[in-house]
Every structure is written in structure tokens, then in C-alpha cells.
């Protein structure tokens, strides 16, 4: 298998004085939308929010829709426990996000773009709005028919799910919709919509700036490019790091662990828990374990029961309650591990609970309920004794 060494990169936060974000827009709109789509597809860029859908294809599908009104939405409802990269990007290089949105608008034929930012980040709204106003002004000077607006959330994790986010923007409860239709066909206000994560949009503008070749040179054949990681937990150097994709988890632990790392939760509460014995043969990327960027490190002083309990409590509270598998499933998983811990249920009950997560994976309506199986099975399988005793 193709493997990469751990390498620090500086694309996202780097600043090119000779080609600022607004200049990237100016340069890009001289190309044809088809060419930009080809560049995006060629670069191999996949969504950086966690799901990993190829960005170029998403833009292409939306461009192919016939509609008078289309939208570009930047998903800044970063709520996954252990993730804080989007806040840093919004704070430090928001112009790159605006540029990505504008280029996307040019490609798909949209005149309005919205940034949906989580309510927990209200403290940055004022500064961000000022920067948006300046950028909108610059677009007007360039005679680009695109305007960026901002909407904020109000503390609901599930609104990071794209269709729940549309519902929320439409003034409704943030309950995910059935798919299909996908957002590129019917998104915000039922119109064709491209919704991309903050980081993805920055990469799109960077690919337009430096060309797809430089981006493609990073990473592996399945995971092109680099990715911003949010590192937290038992590490002396918690923070935000942009790393090349495709590295073995072991290299990551050597760099960031505190020497006593027992497990790493890759991808936040809805991600996978990797125990020490699997560090060597786990790859961070779409061919191994994909991640929205959350890397939580646990050392041997931590009880994995507490970790799992925390996650399940989180999901129980954040489940929108719309579909039964997720609403009841999360509650029963939480009650279930508590009962096993107290000895009210036999250890074998954990296997029943695992089957329940299997049902949730198939039957839950959205990614929230479907992904509870990831932390549950990976923690129960690898740390069964800690859950029981």
C-alpha cells in the first residue's frame, strides 16, 4: 500500500501577496466553468467535512441542473467533538472561503452564497460580517454578480447535516430530509445547491491559485492533497496542523502523542477508535480511516468506558428525534452500557447492543444515527473489558 511520511503543509493558512483571494477570483472567471470543473476533478479534491464526496463532481452535477436560481452554501456548522479547524480558518483566512464560494457560484451559475455558521461562534460574527462586506464590495468593482450573506445556527449539532442545514435556513426544525433528491438537485428553498465545508472551499480557491498539479502531488492516489487536523486530548501540542493525507497513524502518534498513547479517536464522536496495536497498519485517508479532521488522543490513564459514555450522551442529546432508530437507539445504547457496567446485564448484552447499532446504520435517516455504530463497535471491540469491569 502507498504510504506517506508525516509532512506539515502550509496551503490553507499560507498567504500569497502576489495572488490574493480576490485576485484568484479575477483570474478564475476568465476561464470557462467547464475548465474549472475539470481542474477540480483532476485535482482529486474530496469534501473535507467528513463524507468525502468529490468536489468537482458536485459542482458539475449542480451546473448541469437547469434553474433560474441556484445557491452556494458554506457549511460552517462545525460541531463534531474534537473539531475546531473551521473556526481557525474563519478567523484567519476568511477571504479564501469567500473566493471559493464566488468561484463555485461562477461555475454553477449562482448569484447568492450563504455562510451558515454555528451559534457557538457568535463572537466572531461582527468581524466576519465586516470582511464579507469588504469582499462583496470588491466583487461589485470586478462586476461579478455574486453576493455573500451570513446565517447563524442556534446550537444544534444535526444542522451540520446538509439537508438539516437547509431546513434550519428555511426557518424550520433542523430535521434532515430524505435523500434523494440530493442538494445539487433540490437544496435550499428547493433549488439546486452546492454545499461545501469551509476547508473544502478554501482548497478550491487554492487549487485555482496554484493549479491542480501542485495539489495532486500531495497525498496518495486515493487521498489527494493535504488536510487540516484538529489535535486534542492527551498531547503536549494540541492545536491545528495541516498534514499530507495518507500517513500511517503511527507517525502521527510519534509526533503528537505523549508517549503513553492508548487509543486515538479518528473523526470525532462519530468516527472510529483505533487502539495502540493497530497504529502501524492504519492509514489516515480515504483508503484507511477518513476523517473530518478530529484527532483525539487518549493515554492509559483514561477509561474508555467514560469516553464511550460521553459520546453516547452526546448523541442522545443531539439526535433530532425524527426517526425511531436514532432516537430510541441512542438512548438504549447509553442505558445498555450503564446496565452492563453495573452488572444488571450480562457482558453478552454488548453483542445485542452491537446488533442494534447495525440496525441504526441501515435504518436511521441521516448520517448522525448511521454513524453511532462507528464509535460504539470500535470501542466495544477493542476495549471490551473496560466497558464491562
Amino acid at each position: 500500500m502507498e504510504q506517506k511520511q508525516l509532512k506539515k503543509i502550509d496551503i490553507i493558512f499560507g498567504w500569497d501577496d502576489k495572488c490574493t483571494p480576490i485576485q484568484v477570483v479575477e483570474k478564475s472567471i476568465k476561464k470557462t466553468p467547464e475548465n474549472i470543473i475539470l481542474d477540480m476533478i483532476d485535482s482529486g479534491l474530496k469534501g473535507r467535512g467528513g463524507a468525502g464526496f468529490p468536489t468537482g463532481l458536485k459542482w458539475k452535477f449542480c451546473r448541469n441542473e437547469e434553474a433560474e436560481t441556484k445557491y452556494v452554501i458554506c457549511n460552517a456548522d462545525e460541531g463534531e467533538p474534537g473539531t475546531f479547524k473551521d473556526r481557525e480558518i474563519l478567523d484567519r483566512v476568511p477571504e479564501k472561503i469567500f473566493a471559493g464560494m464566488t468561484i463555485c457560484g461562477f461555475v454553477i451559475g449562482a448569484r447568492e452564497g450563504y455562510i451558515y455558521i454555528r451559534g457557538e461562534y457568535n463572537f466572531m460574527l461582527k468581524t466576519l460580517q465586516n470582511k464579507i462586506d469588504i469582499f462583496n464590495q470588491q466583487l461589485q468593482t470586478l462586476k461579478v454578480d455574486f453576493h455573500i450573506f451570513m446565517r447563524s445556527g442556534s446550537g444544534a449539532y444535526v444542522c451540520g447535516e446538509e439537508s438539516a442545514l437547509f431546513e434550519s435556513m428555511e426557518g424550520k426544525r433542523g430535521e434532515p430530509r430524505n435523500k434523494p433528491p440530493y442538494p445539487t438537485v433540490a437544496g435550499y428553498n428547493g433549488k439546486p445547491t452546492v454545499i461545501n465545508n469551509v476547508e473544502t472551499l478554501v482548497y478550491t480557491s487554492e487549487i485555482c491559485r496554484m493549479g491542480p498539479e501542485k495539489f495532486k502531488a500531495l497525498g496518495t492516489s486515493d487521498s489527494r492533497g493535504s488536510k487540516v487536523f484538529s489535535v486534542s486530548g492527551d498531547t503536549p501540542i494540541a492545536g491545528i496542523y495541516e498534514l499530507e493525507l495518507g500517513m500511517p497513524l503511527k507517525d502521527f502518534v510519534d509526533e503528537f502523542g505523549d508517549g503513553d498513547t492508548k487509543a486515538i479517536q479518528v473523526g470525532g464522536a462519530s468516527g472510529h477508535c483505533v487502539p495502540r496495536k493497530k497504529f502501524n497498519d492504519t492509514i489516515i485517508g480515504f483508503e484507511g480511516i477518513p476523517t473530518g479532521g478530529s484527532m483525539m488522543i487518549f493515554n492509559s490513564s483514561r477509561s474508555m468506558y467514560n469516553v464511550l459514555h460521553d459520546y453516547l450522551e452526546f448523541f442522545t442529546e443531539e439526535s433530532c428525534g425524527q426517526c425511531t432508530p436514532c432516537r430510541i437507539g441512542c438512548q438504549q445504547l447509553l442505558k445498555g452500557i450503564e446496565a452492563v457496567k453495573k452488572g444488571e446485564r450480562p457482558p453478552a448484552y454488548l453483542d445485542d447492543l452491537k446488533r442494534l447499532t447495525g440496525t441504526m446504520k441501515i435504518a436511521a435517516k441521516c448520517g448522525l444515527g448511521q454513524s453511532v455504530a462507528n464509535p460504539f463497535t470500535s470501542i466495544v471491540d477493542n476495549f471490551r473489558e473496560e466497558i464491562i469491569y
Binding site: 475546531f84 446550537g155 449539532y157 435556513m169 426557518g171
Partner: protein, 156 residues
């Protein structure tokens, strides 16, 4: 007209009379009054030509759109895993002891409501708390009490 009705008028003028304006309008009310009273929700419904149940349905979905009376300052301590590992329990205990309330309660002088929140996005700088919209990362129990005191002084 009551103060709330005037505020709703202003918000509706600014954001428009469509359902798409519902969230910004409700957020505008909460940022000034800290919660949505029954009267406020009914007034919003009337302005936007929605049923009051619809407005309540949306409002009650969101953690930050409280429909229960809240104090003049809302303190939210993050309780998710990273902050848990970095000592959120000690922060909550210190604030509870200082304000003499439990999580979920409002002080007698109506100055503070103490709540917990799910991941606030500061996992590398926990424990973290929000007071209204302001964020305070890497707090210690002593700092938490100082911050609360600062807000108490500013609140009449």
C-alpha cells in the same frame, strides 16, 4: 406596544416577512431578552403569518433558543469529552458554589443562568465556557469565578 413588540417590528423590517427570516428574528429576540416568551412567539407568528405552533416548533428545537425564562447572563460550560478530560467538572462545581445554583437553574437576583453545552469547538484549549456570546478558553475554577464576578458588576 411593549418593548418586545417594538423589537420584533424592527427585526422583521430588517430580515423580511418570510419564513426564511424566522431564525434570524428569533435569534435577535434571544440576543436581547435571553429567551422567547409565549407573547414573543405569538407576536412573531402574527408578523410572519405563521401559526404560533410552527414558531414554537422551530424555537423548541434549538438549544440556544430558550423558551424558558433565563437570567440576564447565560453561562454555558462545555461538557464534551476534551473539556471533560481537562477538568470541566471542577469549573462547574466552582460556579455552582459561587452562584449557589445547580446546572439548569437561574440565580435569585436573575443575573445568571448556569447551563452546560455540547462541544463548543475549543478542544485544544479546554475547559471552555461561554458567557452570553463571549468565549473563555483554558479557564481554571478561579478564573471562572473572576469572569462571573466581572459580569455581575456589569449587570444591573
Amino acid at each position: 406596544m411593549t418593548n418586545t413588540e417594538v423589537l420584533i417590528q424592527e427585526l422583521v423590517e430588517k430580515h423580511g416577512r418570510t419564513r426564511n427570516a424566522l431564525m434570524p428574528v428569533l435569534q435577535g429576540i434571544v440576543s436581547r431578552e435571553k429567551f422567547l416568551s409565549e407573547q414573543a412567539m405569538i407576536a412573531v407568528a402574527r408578523e410572519l403569518d405563521l401559526s404560533a405552533a410552527d414558531v414554537y416548533g422551530t424555537a423548541s428545537f434549538y438549544t440556544f433558543l430558550d423558551t424558558k425564562p433565563r437570567g440576564k447572563n447565560i453561562v454555558r460550560v462545555c461538557k464534551t469529552i476534551s473539556c471533560h478530560m481537562q477538568g470541566k467538572d471542577a469549573i462547574i462545581k466552582a460556579i455552582e458554589g459561587h452562584l449557589l445554583v445547580k446546572v439548569g437553574d437561574t440565580t435569585h437576583d436573575n443575573k445568571f443562568t448556569l447551563l452546560t453545552a455540547n462541544c463548543l469547538g475549543w478542544c485544544h484549549k479546554g475547559p471552555v465556557m461561554l458567557v452570553n456570546d463571549e468565549v473563555f478558553p483554558s479557564v481554571t475554577p478561579e478564573m471562572a469565578i473572576e469572569i462571573i464576578e466581572e459580569f455581575a458588576k456589569k449587570t444591573t
